[in-house]
């Protein structure tokens, strides 16, 4: 069985380590926050100027001055800090963020990523995505392996305008966990009940089945 979006997030949460500072993008990445292991200290950054993001507020806690990068009302946890956007991206560029999780429209076998612009459609902007992918030392892309038309999003080359070049090393989809190296997607873990043939059918870029391929643990 292919993973649900929640399960993709759950798998990515296994990359977390005690003491990590983490930036989670919009979409599936946001769900990762729900799977931080109990007792593990993980600090969430919101690039609009907050470290120590907490859950959504209770109705009476809603504060228009405290939002996340998705413009949602949120709360802060003990030990949090506010800062301006330049310092926020300073943390990102100077690689103080231990893990960055982002969605994508396309990823190439060279590690290129496209996730901000579709020619012919209204372009909303890259927000902080280009800064994040250009700087993060440890990015995981969280996405579905195919687009709504059923076409693979793991490609030889991106067809959409790039967000960043040669910057992605890890991808988790509903089918598996891939490492990108030497110009190929290396399937390291396969989702329970998914066949290698299904992965092959849905991977347009060069695919290498790892010698140590294992079933994904959640």
């Amino acid at each position: 069985m292919a993973l649900t979006k929640e399960q993709i997030a759950q798998r990515i949460a296994r990359e977390l380590r005690d003491g990590f500072y983490v930036n989670l993008g919009i979409g599936i990445p946001t769900l990762v926050a729900n799977y931080i292991p109990p007792g593990m200290n993980v600090v969430l950054q919101s690039e609009n100027g907050l470290l120590g993001m907490g859950p959504f507020p209770l109705e009476h806690e809603v504060d228009p001055d405290i939002i996340n990068a998705g413009k949602q009302t949120i709360t802060t946890l003990p030990g949090s800090s506010f800062f301006d956007s330049a310092m926020s991206f300073g943390m990102i560029r100077s690689q103080r963020i231990d893990l960055t999780v982002l969605g994508a429209m396309e990823v190439s076998e060279e590690g290129d990523i496209a996730n901000w612009k579709i020619p012919g459609k209204m372009v909303k902007g890259m927000g902080g995505a280009m800064d994040l992918v250009a700087s993060a030392k440890n990015i995981v892309v969280a996405m579905m392996q195919t687009n709504p038309k059923g076409e693979s999003k793991l490609l030889p080359r991106c067809t959409l305008p790039l967000t960043g070049k040669r910057c992605i090393r890890k991808v988790v989809t509903e089918l598996g966990y891939y490492e990108i190296k030497d110009g190929a997607f290396h399937l390291i873990e396969i989702a329970p009940g998914v066949t290698v043939d299904e992965v092959k059918a849905k991977t347009a870029g060069k695919l290498v089945i790892s010698d140590s391929l294992r079933e994904m643990q959640l």
Partner: protein
């Protein structure tokens, strides 16, 4: 030192048509509501606005789009606005999209008197077109320039009459950066206090960067995405 002006209309009265202005805020959080309203009353046209976002249809910079006062937006994300989309597609509005960190840093560098700097954001993308690429320590970076803006308009939580500012929560965002970056900086605050009432250790924007300050009124502080959890 007294930099107070009576109200938003006085604060923006010399902003001419075709000026380049910075507007603080992230989404609708920390935006200079009173000055935006005053700019609309004044009817100034042909503005180039540097602001991370473009407001929503009926609030923030969106209000200035409706009145066709904006010629060009320089932003990182402009997604939440149907009128914006219409003007963009019809060619009435120009848009320059910039990575958010680069946008923030180009403001900061203006305030810091650094004309240009190197950043990795956008290398290998269309953002890099026409820009110098340079390698430091084996990694590629783009040359980016400090912004130049005629006016910066920011919103703070507290301020004193000498222009010292303190922000609250994530309403800080681009405000302190833009406050340093305008040729003329206008600050509106929720609470204006006498000189000497703010702790000098807690000031985010020293008054030297601020030319005019006033206490705004009737802050709506609209919420774009009201998200709550159950008790």
């Amino acid at each position: 030192m007294n930099k107070t002006v009576p109200n938003a209309d006085e604060a923006v009265k010399d902003i001419p048509d075709n000026a380049t202005i910075m507007l603080g805020g992230f989404g609708l959080c920390g935006i200079p509501e009173n000055c935006i309203a005053a700019l609309i009353r004044k009817g100034v046209k042909g503005l180039t606005c540097i602001s991370n976002n473009a407001g929503v249809d009926d609030f923030g910079i969106g209000l200035m789009l409706k009145t066709r006062q904006v010629k060009k937006m320089i932003s990182s994300y402009v997604g939440e606005n149907a009128e914006f989309e219409r003007q963009l597609l019809s060619g009435e509005l120009e848009v320059e999209l910039i990575p958010q960190g680069t946008l923030a840093t180009r403001c900061m560098m203006a305030g810091y008197g650094i004309p240009a700097f190197y950043t990795p954001a956008g290398v290998g993308t269309e953002v890099a077109e026409g820009k110098e690429v340079r390698v430091f320590n084996g990694k590629e970076y783009l040359l980016e320039h400090a912004f130049e803006a005629d006016f910066a308009i920011v919103k703070a939580w507290k301020g004193d009459k000498a222009g010292n500012l303190i922000y609250r929560g994530t309403a800080r965002n681009f405000n302190p950066l833009m406050a340093m970056a305008g040729k003329i900086t206008i600050a509106e605050v929720e609470i204006l206090v006498e000189v000497g009432e703010l702790d000098p250790n807690e000031i985010h924007t020293p008054g030297i960067f601020v030319n005019r300050i006033f206490q705004g009124e009737k802050y709506e502080k609209r919420i774009e995405q009201r998200t709550v959890r159950k008790a």
